[in-house]
């Protein structure tokens, strides 16, 4: 067996000199693959996590549709709500990834990955990808349920693709936001507290549940700097065809997630200290 293990003294790594951009792409691919492998091992969780958004649609949506308490113009409230719930479920999944990365740090797994020739940005992007995949699975569940409840959704494949892109961008942003906070507070308990403290304002400070013009002025101002607001706007425009500033929405989402990925990568190293 020792003779089979005879390998060049230099190791294989050194025999493949590749530039940094290609290295980053390779590593991102590897980390995404690994996240898919992990997701395959907990398929049931993928589904059970869709129960909460389903309940929001069924209970909250059906009730408020009947109450007609929230004026949404000529759009039925359930139709108005469905894209908001989609964005919400993606947010709740993504925020969880900061906690997951602290678990992986505590389990020593992250530390070991950090001693491999893997740029931090690839580790972070792998997590953003995993959050996106989960969010898309949930999006599918929410959309099917919404369609069953009679929500008038688009059947334009391009709009559906654009919707997926918005979900991916939103999930990446909030996943990286969560990892950033993890890199700042470093412990599980503190992150749990902060995670809960920020998800609620993010959610209620967006147009997920009600139109912006119903909000008090200061909340409207917050909605303007809240990426969730732009995600909801894009999803609503694409899915149920209400007027939306898609260019602005996507511009903000792309910029915000790019910046967040970089900040999260810069702070990731703190977790290993």
């Amino acid at each position: 067996m020792s003779e089979q293990l005879a390998v060049p003294l230099t190791g294989w790594g050194e025999s493949v000199p590749i530039g940094l951009p290609r290295l980053v792409l390779f590593r991102i691919g590897t980390m995404c693959l690994v996240e898919l492998q992990k997701l395959r091992h907990d398929r049931t969780e993928l589904i059970t996590r869709a129960i909460q958004p389903a309940l929001w649609l069924l209970v909250f949506g059906e009730t408020f549709t009947r109450l007609r308490a929230i004026p949404t113009g000529n759009v039925p409230y359930l139709d108005y709500l469905a894209p908001g719930i989609l964005a919400q479920s993606a947010l709740f999944i993504a925020i969880f990834y900061g906690i997951q990365i602290i678990w992986e740090r505590d389990a020593g797994v992250l530390t070991k990955l950090m001693v491999t020739p893997t740029p931090r940005i690839a580790l972070v992007t792998g997590k953003a990808f995993a959050a996106s995949v989960r969010a898309l699975v949930q999006a599918l569940v929410v959309l099917v349920l919404a369609a069953l409840l009679g929500v008038g959704l688009t059947d334009n494949p391009f709009k559906l693709l654009a919707m997926a892109a918005a979900v991916i961008l939103g999930s990446s942003f909030f996943c990286c936001l969560s990892i950033t906070i993890a890199g700042l507070v470093l412990t599980h308990d503190r992150l749990m507290g902060i995670g809960q403290a920020i998800t609620m304002p993010l959610f209620f400070g967006s147009s997920a549940l009600y139109p912006v013009n119903l909000m008090p002025g200061w909340l409207q101002a917050f909605n303007h700097i809240n990426p969730l607001g732009y995600e909801v706007d894009a999803l609503r425009g694409l899915l149920i065809g209400v007027p939306a500033e898609l260019g602005l929405d996507f511009g903000v989402l792309i910029l915000a997630s790019a910046v967040m990925i970089i900040i999260a990568s810069a702070l990731l190293g703190r977790l290993a200290r």
Partner: protein, 269 residues
């Protein structure tokens, strides 16, 4: 001495808040050796290894691995390393094979050889039969062997092991060392290892540094160290002589460090 150095650490220092964990250490590990870093709990061994493996910054002093500066060329240094941390750690959500394959990918083992290399690595640590079970179902000893397979899959030039045999039964301990010996015989890999088992250190290390309170207080071959204390001595005696008289004063701190170690030594899936 012109022998090439696997690690050249010059006046390295690290502090956590008020605790000076490593306090001006010069550490030269000649290439091709098994170099043991010994010392009581809290001596600063793990901290030293974490600086060498690029996990902790070394703001004071400098570290080179095979001549590559650790502060400036982190990625290049990591390519040369295999690392098994003190804490048992394998991704419990992945199978054993996926855990090893991940490291093969991260070290750019060419795709054509990857499957073969991964199979060989698993076989060499005796995990072939359980390779497709998730690592979360492995025992502590199995995880240790899996970690060794991960660390060796890229044929590292420097293998850094932080208490590799902690929690292993005697047969497991022997097989870890056998395996390291086999890889060394075929690749000439350098090994930097910490352990609390003096018999292991005596038997397997070519050279030993004894650390105490962040400093190196004795350095030499096991034979030299033993001869320095007296005739018919063991490494245990060397350990006691180098650190023993100061033990009583910081017994409290030692206990705390043991507890911290226990806490991190448990298995996480």
């Amino acid at each position: 001495m012109t022998a090439p150095l696997a690690v050249r650490g010059t006046a390295i220092r690290h502090r956590f808040g008020d605790t000076v964990a490593v306090d001006g250490v010069d550490l030269n590990v000649p290439a091709g050796m098994v170099f043991g870093l010994l010392g009581p709990n809290g001596a600063g061994k793990t901290t030293t290894l974490r600086m060498i493996t690029t996990l902790l910054p070394a703001p004071i002093g400098s570290i080179e691995v095979f001549g590559v500066d650790v502060a400036r060329h982190k990625l290049a240094v990591r390519r040369l390393l295999g690392y098994v941390p003190q804490q048992l750690s394998a991704d419990g959500a992945l199978t054993g094979r996926q855990n090893v394959a991940l490291f093969a990918r991260l070290f750019d083992v060419p795709r054509a050889r990857r499957r073969h290399v991964v199979d060989l690595s698993l076989e060499s640590v005796g995990l072939t039969d359980v390779a497709d079970r998730t690592a979360g179902t492995y025992s502590g000893g199995m995880i240790r062997r899996l970690e060794l397979a991960q660390a060796l899959v890229n044929a590292p030039r420097l293998l850094v092991l932080d208490e590799p045999t902690i929690g292993l039964d005697p047969i497991g301990r022997a097989s870890v060392w056998d395996h390291i010996g086999e890889v060394r015989a075929s690749t000439g890999m350098t090994v930097l290892v910490t352990t609390h088992y003096m018999d292991e250190a005596d038997q397997h290390c070519d050279r030993i540094a004894l650390m105490h309170r962040g400093r190196i207080c004795a350095l030499g071959t096991p034979a030299e160290l033993k001869a320095g204390v007296g005739p018919d001595t063991t490494l245990d005696d060397v350990f006691r002589a180098a650190t023993g008289d100061r033990l009583a004063s910081d017994a409290g701190e030692r206990m705390r460090n043991v507890r911290a170690t226990r806490r991190t030594a448990h298995r996480l899936g």
